[in-house]
């Protein structure tokens, strides 16, 4: 009960920060309040967001998946190569790319559960392997010339809203409903909160872990296709370092990096915060490095400040006694 309360406070803090960064951004640039611009800008964060949602579950289970961005790049590269060099029909190439992405996730999951290897090292290895494979496939070229139906997914709209932003929101709602309203979701939460107790209660903890890695891989693959469609090209160095943005969104959202406690609304709020900050700073012509610094400080402070306050309160409580 108490934990829930802390979590809510965290989300209120995030909300306040979102509002604050919104106001600062609006103050910095008058273009910021243009709704069309904001909606277009939101499509830049969809891949990070969708991957962060899957990562939330992976981290809830006490694991981590550093290989997502590299899996994204491999899917894009493989799909591109199969289509451009081997003459496969594009839909078939996409399916092949997604299959490999899911298999890569399965590989991570099996190494982590069967051999009881730490996911940090496993996915560090697969990170290099997957991006390396993408590099072997396409070298330093970019694959371009995708057909019209495939490119520009970020330009599709449903009414006034970009379709992929809606997709992100829909995915978030689906994850939230899954984790809080379905039996399997509750089992997943239990497996994260206390794996030993969950195993004794008959919950297939290892199978759930494997599934989380497979979903994380598959989702990364989908994002690979999405990014290829957005930029109209497939390259081996796509989304380099993006795994850090993804993990930042998850942790900033209040998910415990050691597992056991996770929050889908928190991840979305954190993503919104990062999105507003980055878009605002971008409009104010603040360079990418400064943006990274701001997000880095935010990440460290989001954990350090509550810990500092907790420490203060504990001292006060001790003194009162």
């Amino acid at each position: 009960m108490k934990l829930k309360k802390i979590n809510w406070t965290h989300q209120y803090t995030l909300l306040v920060l979102v509002a604050l960064s919104f106001m600062v951004s609006a103050h910095l640039s008058s273009h910021f309040l243009d709704p069309t611009y904001l909606l277009t800008a939101s499509t830049n964060f969809v891949e990070t967001g969708i991957m962060a949602l899957a990562m939330t579950v992976v981290i809830l289970l006490g694991e981590i998946d550093l290989s997502v961005a590299c899996n994204l790049a491999l899917t894009a590269a493989l799909t591109g190569v199969l289509w451009a060099h081997f003459g496969w029909p594009l839909p078939l190439a996409c399916v092949a790319g997604l299959t490999v992405a899911a298999l890569a996730g399965l590989g991570n999951g099996l190494l982590v559960t069967r051999l009881q290897l730490p996911s940090l090292t496993v996915t560090l290895g697969s990170m290099a392997l997957l991006r390396g494979a993408a590099q072997v496939l396409v070298g330093d070229h970019s694959i371009t010339g995708f057909p019209n139906w495939f490119i520009g997914v970020d330009q599709r709209v449903v009414g006034p809203l970009p379709a992929i932003t809606l997709l992100l929101v829909g995915t978030a709602v689906a994850w939230w409903a899954f984790l809080t309203r379905s039996v399997r979701g509750r089992m997943t939460e239990a497996a994260g909160a206390n794996p030993v107790a969950a195993r004794l209660a008959g919950i297939p903890v290892d199978a759930i872990r494997v599934r989380a890695f497979v979903v994380s891989g598959l989702v990364a693959g989908i994002c690979g296709l999405m990014m290829t469609s957005r930029v109209g090209a497939a390259r081996w160095d796509m989304a380099q370092g993006r795994e850090l943005d993804v993990i930042t969104a998850v942790v900033l959202g209040g998910t415990d990096i050691n597992g056991g406690e996770a929050s889908i609304p928190g991840t979305m709020l954190a993503l919104l915060l990062i999105g507003v900050m980055r878009t605002g700073m971008g409009l104010a012509e603040i360079n990418a490095e400064t943006q990274h610094v701001a997000v880095g400080i935010l990440l460290a402070a989001s954990i350090a400040v509550p810990n500092l306050l907790k420490r203060r309160n504990r001292h006060k409580a001790v003194n009162a006694i």
Binding site: L117, P118, A128, L129, G132, A133, E289, H292, A300, I303
Partner: protein, 327 residues
């Protein structure tokens, strides 16, 4: 107590044996695929490719043995390189040992930042250093102010460190060797070094035994920072430039990979300087073999990934075997 000690020693030995075996296999393949690998000039290149990773790898070994991780080393390399480069720009006469001291000083300060967040504010190290990786990288950009350190800003005597030394081997390799020996002696034989292992194996037990896990963790972050700072100066010597975006970018992964391949467990409590040294040499040898064998640079990353996975899987299987033997 003695039995577990012996068992531990046996396991550690077996683990290094594994990396050693990999290295021998890689070198044998090199002899078959690309005999030119053994040309003196190429072996020299190999000596030049490893010092930076070895230097920082020694600090990373201590950090990972403590159950922590430091993702910020690449950014520390960049900050230290920029600071030293800027001083060279205004004071070209700065003596080399002084430059190294400045680099290490910068590293100590940045390492203290990590240590403070991890030990005092209890921010998990992966989050702390994920954050400081961006923050320190940004700092490098601030110091750079839109310019990079160019080859003509770096004095010839610093560059000569990566070319030769009185005994023929590049001085940078000697510096790395010295740091390796120091770390080996420290982790293996000193009281504080053993405390690092105790902390990583079981922080609570370490505390109950009168050790101070927080100070030990802080110490390992500061040492790792200092070595990354030194590596910043070595970078300037080896490559002749420092660029705030490029310098040390992705370096943290190379270092962690070498450490992990060398048998250090990310779950803490085990790992040796010798293992990390072998891991560094193995990674450098692989990338060198690929170059010599005319397999373009394109294969390097995939080979790294494959070798990391094979090494940790082999290590895990080997450990199971030794557990069975022990039982």
């Amino acid at each position: 107590m003695r039995v577990t000690g012996n068992l531990l020693r046996r396991m550690v030995r077996a683990r290094e044996f594994g990396v050693m075996a990999f290295l021998v296999i890689a070198l044998a393949i090199a002899a078959l695929l690309a005999p030119r690998f053994y040309a003196p000039q190429n072996l020299r290149n190999l000596l030049l490719d490893t010092p930076l990773v070895v230097t920082v790898g020694m600090g990373m070994t201590a950090v990972i043995v403590c159950r922590q991780i430091d993702l910020s080393v690449g950014s520390i390399v960049a900050v230290s390189g920029m600071v030293v480069g800027e001083i060279y720009r205004s004071h070209p006469g700065m003596p080399t040992p002084f430059a190294m001291a400045v680099g290490m000083g910068v590293g100590v300060i940045l390492g203290m930042g990590n240590a403070l967040l991890v030990t005092y504010l209890k921010v998990p190290s992966i989050i702390t250093t994920l954050g400081t990786m961006s923050i320190y990288r940004g700092l490098a950009f601030v110091i750079a102010g839109g310019r990079q350190i160019n080859p003509n800003d770096i004095p010839a005597r610093l560059v000569s460190l990566s070319i030769t030394s009185p005994i023929g081997i590049p001085a940078l390799a000697l510096v790395a060797l010295f740091i390796f020996l120091l770390t080996h002696a420290f982790l293996g034989w000193s009281r504080a070094g053993r405390a690092v292992y105790a902390t990583g194996s079981n922080p609570d037990a370490a505390r109950l035994n009168g050790l101070a896990p927080n100070s030990i963790i802080a110490g390992s972050f500061i040492a790792c920072g200092a070595l990354a700072g030194l590596a910043g100066v070595m970078y300037a010597s080896r490559y002749g430039f420092v660029n705030p975006a490029q310098t040390g970018n992705g370096f943290e992964l190379q270092v962690i990979a070498a450490t992990v391949i060398g048998g250090t467990q990310v779950t803490g409590g085990s790992g040796t300087a010798v293992g990390t040294l072998l891991g560094c040499i193995l990674l450098a040898a692989i990338s060198n073999v690929l170059t010599v064998a005319h397999l373009s640079g394109r294969w390097q990353l995939a080979a790294y990934g494959a070798i990391i996975l094979v090494a940790i899987v082999a290590d895990s299987l080997g450990r199971r075997q030794s557990m069975k033997v022990a039982a």
